[in-house]
């Protein structure tokens, strides 16, 4: 693998490398869910991860901000190795934003408060300033007028855009997306994807678990195919879609493209 050289001294490469995973294994109880994951993501790179359900995609990206703990191997995020050290976890989580399938907005706070919560309590930003930042991001996801509403009053697509804005308010270097559009009604998918495309164009490092192949072709530098807890194949979108190497990839692609 091309990362073979990189893993020897991962720390020295922090300028370019955003995420570095070397020989990562993870178990849920006895179940071996991630097997020998080696992955290096450069700053500014856009990665799309796909694969059948249960193949470990979510687990993989949740390891990057330590929502899940890995048992073997090494994960270095933005120059910080993830261990049990709470301070390191904190600093990684500050640099990494995450968008969930089910939005996970805080229902007891308004849209604006959702966006300012972390800046105020984590970054200790003055409230006025935090609100200004929040409003710029809400404008960027095209819902500034909903700022005073509660999440329950918004549509799914709007909620997901708020969730994206909420992550951006922490000014992250890396954004993780876990199937951000798969809980949405079809007519709302594009409004969320548009926001994500805009984000990609601004140069954000992104790891997206998604089955939106149009999105992958448009913005991804690399598409990664996972199955059974392993990375089976990775390639640039052109090659990946037109010339898949492994049989499993071919089967998977034929299944999702025919639906």
């Amino acid at each position: 693998m091309s990362e073979a050289a990189a893993h020897v001294m991962p720390q020295s490469q922090t300028d370019q490398v955003a995420v570095q995973m070397v020989g990562v294994h993870k178990w849920y109880g006895e179940f071996h869910v991630l097997k020998d994951i080696n992955l290096s993501v450069d700053a500014g790179e856009r990665i799309v991860i796909c694969g059948p359900s249960g193949s470990g995609k979510s687990t993989l990206i949740r390891c990057i901000n330590r929502l899940e703990e890995h048992q073997r191997g090494q994960i270095v995020v933005d120059g910080v190795e993830l261990t049990n050290d709470v301070r390191k976890i904190d600093s990684v989580r500050r640099e990494v934003g995450m968008v969930f399938q089910h939005f996970n907005l805080f229902p007891h706070l308004t849209v604006l408060e959702n966006c300012t919560l972390a800046p105020i309590w984590v970054k200790k930003t003055p409230k006025v300033e935090a609100e200004e930042i929040a409003m710029t991001y809400l404008a960027r996801v095209k819902i500034p007028e909903q700022a005073t509403k509660f999440p329950g009053q918004l549509s799914g697509g709007q909620q997901q855009r708020v969730a994206i804005a909420r992550s951006l308010c922490m000014n992250p270097k890396i954004m993780l997306f876990d199937e951000p559009t798969s809980a949405l009604d079809p007519e709302m998918i594009s409004e969320v994807l548009d926001v994500m495309v805009g984000l990609a164009e601004s140069g954000m490092t992104m790891l997206c678990v998604t089955h939106e192949m149009g999105f992958a072709r448009k913005v991804a530098n690399r598409v990664i195919f996972m199955d059974g807890g392993e990375i089976i194949e990775q390639n640039n979108p052109e090659e990946f879609f037109n010339n898949p190497q492994s049989d499993r990839t071919k089967l998977f692609l034929s299944q999702i493209l025919h639906n």
Partner: protein, 371 residues
């Protein structure tokens, strides 16, 4: 990082067992007992508490207990633990109260029949459930004649009732009678007819606003005033009525919660099908609402069952009342702890099984909903 380089071709990596320390008992203890300094302290504290409490309790409860003494004095002479003799010697009384000894088979029989009658209600897989159900419906009549006598059986007055039998009698009667009344009250509270609604609300809120003990006092002191002069009204019957009314008000609130959880669409669909109010309620709404309310209803029943102990305060001889009379016997004076713990164990077993049953039902209903 021994195998940091890819050792297997993509897609061929075998499933490995988790690394040592991530497996088996050690891992389990690390995760569940010693996962952080706070947790370690808590665990040690817990072990210390158990060490403090359990051995002396076991000592008292079993190891140093006396089971076959004739009096408290003898007990205390022989060992330092509990004197269970009082429970053993007076066991029959604690169960039957002062029910005539030679007629106690009637109590036993009604208990057995109660168990039989409960089966089709509790378990929907019981065979011949329909026919069996008919028996459950006529059981109250059978039990009435068995316990009070009549139809050729020697009559027994209810002042002789007592002990666990009384507890079960009040509990079961209250449960059986309060459910329909509670449902009616809940429907009344949700009714569009203002008068019915107001009456139901007033009744429910009044009952729920005062302690049961005051209602029992009303039953024992005031009911005589409310009835025509000279009417004699059995104290047990008064208590049964009050307990039923009391628990019905609580059931009504539980059922109302269930009714509120039924979506409007269900009412509308039923009305669109041309069902009358009672058919809509009976066939469509209530079955669903009651299903949702089952845990709440069972909790109310558990509450009612525990509340039967309050009758001792107005002079009925439930197990608590009997233990006071046993304690008045100079032979057994001072053994209140033993008697109370015996009664506590009885209640714990009954109430705990009821709550387990409710959890069993809840789980069953949940899987039913998932489809």
């Amino acid at each position: 990082m021994t195998d940091a380089t890819q050792t297997h071709a993509p897609g061929t990596h075998p499933d490995l067992p988790p690394p040592l320390g991530n497996r088996g008992a050690i891992k389990w203890m690390r995760e569940n007992l010693f996962s952080s300094p706070t947790n370690t302290v808590l665990t040690l504290l817990g072990i210390y508490l158990i060490y403090l409490a359990i051995p002396p309790f076991l000592d008292w409860f079993i190891l140093n207990a006396v089971f076959d003494a004739g009096s408290r004095a003898e007990c205390w002479e022989r060992a330092s633990g509990a004197c269970w003799s009082v429970v053993i010697v007076r066991f029959d009384q604690l169960v039957y109260g002062f029910y005539p000894v030679e007629l106690r088979w009637r109590v036993d029989l009604s208990a057995v029949l109660l168990a039989v009658a409960l089966v089709p209600i509790l378990f929907d897989k019981a065979p011949y459930r329909r026919g069996w159900f008919v028996f459950s419906l006529i059981y109250p009549v059978i039990a009435f004649f068995l316990l009070w006598g009549g139809l050729g059986l020697e009559p027994v007055e209810s002042a002789k009732f007592g002990g666990i039998m009384l507890t079960v009698l009040i509990g079961v009667t209250g449960i059986v009678a309060s459910l329909p009344l509670g449902i009616v009250l809940a429907l009344g509270r949700r009714s569009e007819l203002l008068v019915l609604k107001v009456i139901s609300i007033c009744f429910i809120e009044f009952i729920r606003g005062v302690p049961l003990i005051t209602l029992l006092f009303v039953a024992s002191t005031l009911l005589n005033y409310f009835l025509p002069p000279g009417t004699y009204f059995d104290l047990l019957l008064r208590v049964l009525i009050m307990v039923t009314l009391f628990s019905a008000a609580y059931i009504a609130e539980v059922v109302r919660g269930g009714l509120q959880a039924i979506p409007r669409g269900q009412f509308e669909a039923a009305m669109a099908m041309g069902l009358s109010y009672w058919k809509m309620m009976g066939l469509v709404v209530l079955p669903q609402a009651l299903k949702i309310s089952i845990p709440g209803i069972v909790n109310t029943f558990i509450g009612l069952y525990k509340d039967t102990t309050l009758v001792v305060i107005i002079g009925l001889l439930d197990p608590l009342g009997l233990s006071q009379s046993i304690l008045a016997d100079s032979k057994w004076q001072g053994l209140s702890t033993e008697l109370y713990i015996f009664i506590a164990i009885f209640f714990f077993i009954s109430c705990f099984s009821m709550s387990r049953y409710s959890i069993y039902l809840e789980n069953k209903l949940h899987t039913g909903h998932k489809r």
